[in-house]
């Protein structure tokens, strides 16, 4: 029973962090260009240096 007093707030807190992360990702446009993000890892940026 005493375990609940900190386990539940931890569980809720983790959920809230996840929710906040999703809102942040949406506001910063990380879902705007899914195809682009998939392709970007293929860009070879070595020649910029």
């Amino acid at each position: 029973m005493s375990g609940l007093t900190y386990l539940i707030p931890i569980a809720l807190g983790m959920g809230l962090v996840g929710l906040a992360a999703f809102f942040w990702a949406m506001r910063t446009g990380q879902y705007d260009d899914m195809e682009g993000s998939a392709s970007r890892i293929l860009i070879d940026e070595e020649d910029d240096l």
Binding site: L4, I8, A11, G18, D32, D33, M34, G36, S39, I43
Partner: protein
């Protein structure tokens, strides 16, 4: 201290410009644009959006749209500046739904966590505490995530109507109220989990539906963005003033400079020039205009300048009206969705009556008002149409995604439904069965002649010149050093090589339609072009036949050319058909009860595409045809046409199954609820099981396009 200012990021006012660049395809394109565009002085950054085929450029105000478009062309991309039209910021609704869904999901997870322990026997102080915790999570979550339903229900009630959102809102509100009452009075059961779960599944359905519709709207936004954003209007005193497109009015006189996109419809009043009307006709050869010629917003001036008397502006232009028509078409729901709406109109009163009857029945039989209310709420919650709301959009989104991966972009759910019903397919020839790109026969040319031909052809935008350029480049030919190259639009390209006059002109009349003539000094040689069939035409027609669909060629091309191809493919073909005759044929077929599919690229197929029961345009078609069609196939292959029909039929099968599952669920669940046997546990299991079965059933469509 007159040090030249060092341009710091943020030191000068930076502005954003969006460019449409349909040619962006891969990581290489992204890298090239993002690396090379900022090399232009004044450009701070460029960011490519591959899904939308757009580039967001942040630059100093001194850099004009035109400079950016030129810079893009220099690195090999056709681009156009995009205005911030009313439809550009169109996905706000989808985003709001997604946020509500995320919040509901969060609430659902945590409340379930607490509910499971209550169901598995937590009692006394632990249960009280869990109920209170659930209440603390559920009330804000329901207030936030429930807004789409509450607002819509309120609107309906104010208008004196009822819709599916009314029983949902009442059910959720009552369940929350009763659960709060139970919590405060230390009662045994709280329905927070049921209420939040209901919202979660309903929001999932709405979010899928919104994502399906915002696709179409993005296309409309792209169409409107082709319109010029501003125009030079000539004042009575002869000076020109730059005004934005919205402020242009009929009767004004616009001065159109080379390279400018027209911002309004009108008649040319003075001057002469040439325009690129590809947006309306798909024909990229320049069209000559002189005094009296009508011109349309969205056309790009290639030669000029000329003056245009505005006849229609802003929302009155042809392009804006087409966009509006499409928007309306996008709003009209498909038949199956309409069935869902009709069901809901029947559904709301039935559910309310059932709940009221259950309440009175239990009151009469002597149960207390508390127990009767619990039963009534259970009826309201358990009958809420989660599975029904998911039945159509889930299936359509999965099928559209599967087709998208195979190169067919479906506009909306209605298109899928109509595609599933077709029983005869009409094909245009040029650009549909064939590639629509003339390929030259280069066998008769010497290497020197090829080099000269390339030097001449590469400066022109004429389709034959482009075909010739592509063909020569594919053979690894390098252009010869031809000087003083000039294009006389309509007749050909001339230049000087080694003191000789060289020219690329249209072939003498009467010969093969697709040919041009290369002149080197006094030597003349003819280059013939052929338009090749798409690589998988035969397989596609066979597949359509296997699906029970007859195919036919209907073309505006000469009878001979058509009969040659129809003999080769073994299907009937008619040549020399005018656009009106095509339209009449389609109407005739429809009158006979047939459901024709029109596949055309549309120099003039636009009306036929719109009139057919369903239509598909190849990606090379004019923008207008692509807008008129239900689906656009990308790439060289024709197979997506057959796959589309196959996938559409499977989709409708799945949609019907989904409705069956939803009805079956209600048939089982309602008696239980009325009899008072539904505890929060049973409600949670029944609702999530039916929704998950519907989603799982829809996911089978991921393989539909194989």
């Amino acid at each position: 201290m007159n040090v030249p200012a060092i341009l710091e990021p943020g030191g000068e006012a930076l502005v954003d410009t969006r460019l449409n660049a349909p040619g962006i395809r891969c990581a290489g394109c992204i890298g090239k644009i993002e690396r090379d565009l900022p090399k232009l002085a004044g450009v701070a950054s460029a960011r490519v959006n591959l899904s939308a085929k757009r580039v967001l450029v942040r630059h100093a105000a001194s850099v004009s749209d035109r400079d950016l478009v030129d810079a893009m062309r220099a690195i090999g991309f056709e681009a156009q500046a995009v205005g911030l039209g009313p439809l550009v910021a169109d996905d706000a609704e989808a985003r709001a739904l997604l946020r509500a869904l995320a919040v509901a999901g969060f609430g659902l997870m945590n409340i379930m966590l607490l509910s499971v322990s209550v169901w598995s026997g937590a009692s006394g102080a632990t249960r009280e505490m869990f109920h209170w915790l659930s209440a603390i999570i559920a009330v804000p979550v329901i207030t936030y995530s429930g807004r789409p339903f509450f607002n819509s229900a309120l609107r309906a009630l104010r208008a004196g109507r009822t819709n599916m959102d009314v029983p949902i809102s009442i059910g959720v509100t009552l369940a929350t109220g009763l659960s709060l009452f139970e919590t405060i009075t230390w009662g045994e059961q709280a329905y927070f989990d049921g209420a939040v779960m209901l919202l979660f599944f309903l929001l999932a359905g709405r979010a899928l539906d919104a994502s399906m519709r915002s696709r179409t709207r993005a296309e409309i936004g792209a169409l409107l963005s082709k319109m010029g954003r501003s125009a030079s209007v000539l004042q009575p005193d002869g000076s020109a003033r730059r005004v934005t497109a919205e402020l242009v009015e009929p009767g004004m006189l616009m001065l159109v400079a080379v390279g400018e996109a027209l911002a309004a419809d009108g008649l040319v009043e003075a001057g002469a020039g040439a325009i690129d009307n590809a947006m309306l006709t798909g024909e990229s050869a320049p069209e000559h205009v002189g005094p009296g010629c009508p011109v349309h917003a969205g056309a790009i001036a290639l030669l000029g300048p000329f003056e245009v008397r505005v006849t229609a502006a802003a929302s009155g232009t042809a392009i804006a009206q087409i966009a509006e028509l499409m928007d309306q078409a996008g709003q009209s729901r498909s038949r199956y969705v309409r069935i869902a709406d009709r069901v809901s109109r029947l559904y709301a009163p039935v559910v309310h009556t059932l709940a009221a009857l259950a309440f009175t029945g239990w009151m009469i039989s002597g149960a207390g008002w508390h127990q009767s209310l619990v039963v009534a709420i259970a009826v309201l919650i358990i009958t809420c149409p989660c599975a029904m709301g998911l039945a159509v959009p889930a299936a359509q989104v999965v099928a559209a995604g599967a087709l998208g991966r195979r190169g067919l972009l479906v506009k909306d759910g209605g298109a899928l439904e109509r595609l599933s019903e077709i029983d005869i397919a009409l094909f245009d020839k040029t650009g549909t069965l064939t590639l629509g790109e003339p390929r030259p026969d280069l066998a008769g040319l010497s290497d020197a002649a090829k080099a000269i031909a390339l030097a001449l052809a590469q400066v022109s935008r004429h389709p034959l010149s482009r075909g010739l350029t592509a063909g020569l480049l594919a053979q690894g030919v390098a252009p010869a050093a031809v000087t003083r190259i000039g294009e006389v639009a309509g007749s050909g390209i001339t230049g000087i090589f080694d003191g000789d006059v060289v020219a690329l002109t249209s072939a003498a009349a009467g010969s093969n339609l697709l040919a041009c003539e290369l002149v080197i000094g006094s030597k003349r040689s003819t280059i013939e072009f052929r338009d090749e069939l798409r690589p998988d035409v035969v397989e596609t027609l066979a597949k359509l036949k296997a699906l029970g669909i007859e195919s036919q060629i209907v073309s505006g091309d000469r009878e001979q050319a058509v009969s040659a191809i129809s003999a080769q493919l073994g299907i009937p073909g008619i040549g020399g058909v005018s656009p009106q005759a095509k339209l009449a044929m389609l109407e005739g077929l429809k009158a006979k009860g047939k459901r024709p599919l029109m596949v055309g690229d549309g120099l003039n197929d636009g009306p036929a595409l719109a009139a057919a029961h369903a239509s598909i345009a190849p990606g090379s078609a004019s923008d207008l045809s692509q807008q008129a069609a239900d689906a656009v196939s990308v790439g060289e292959r024709l197979m997506p046409v057959a796959l589309a029909v196959l996938a559409a039929r499977r989709t409708m099968q799945i949609v019907r199954q989904n409705f069956g599952i939803a009805v079956l669920y209600n048939l089982c669940a309602v008696p239980l609820a009325v009899l008072g046997l539904v505890t929060p546990l049973i409600a949670a299991i029944a609702m999530s099981a039916s929704s998950l079965i519907v989603i799982g059933n829809s996911l089978r469509l991921a393989r539909a396009a194989r």
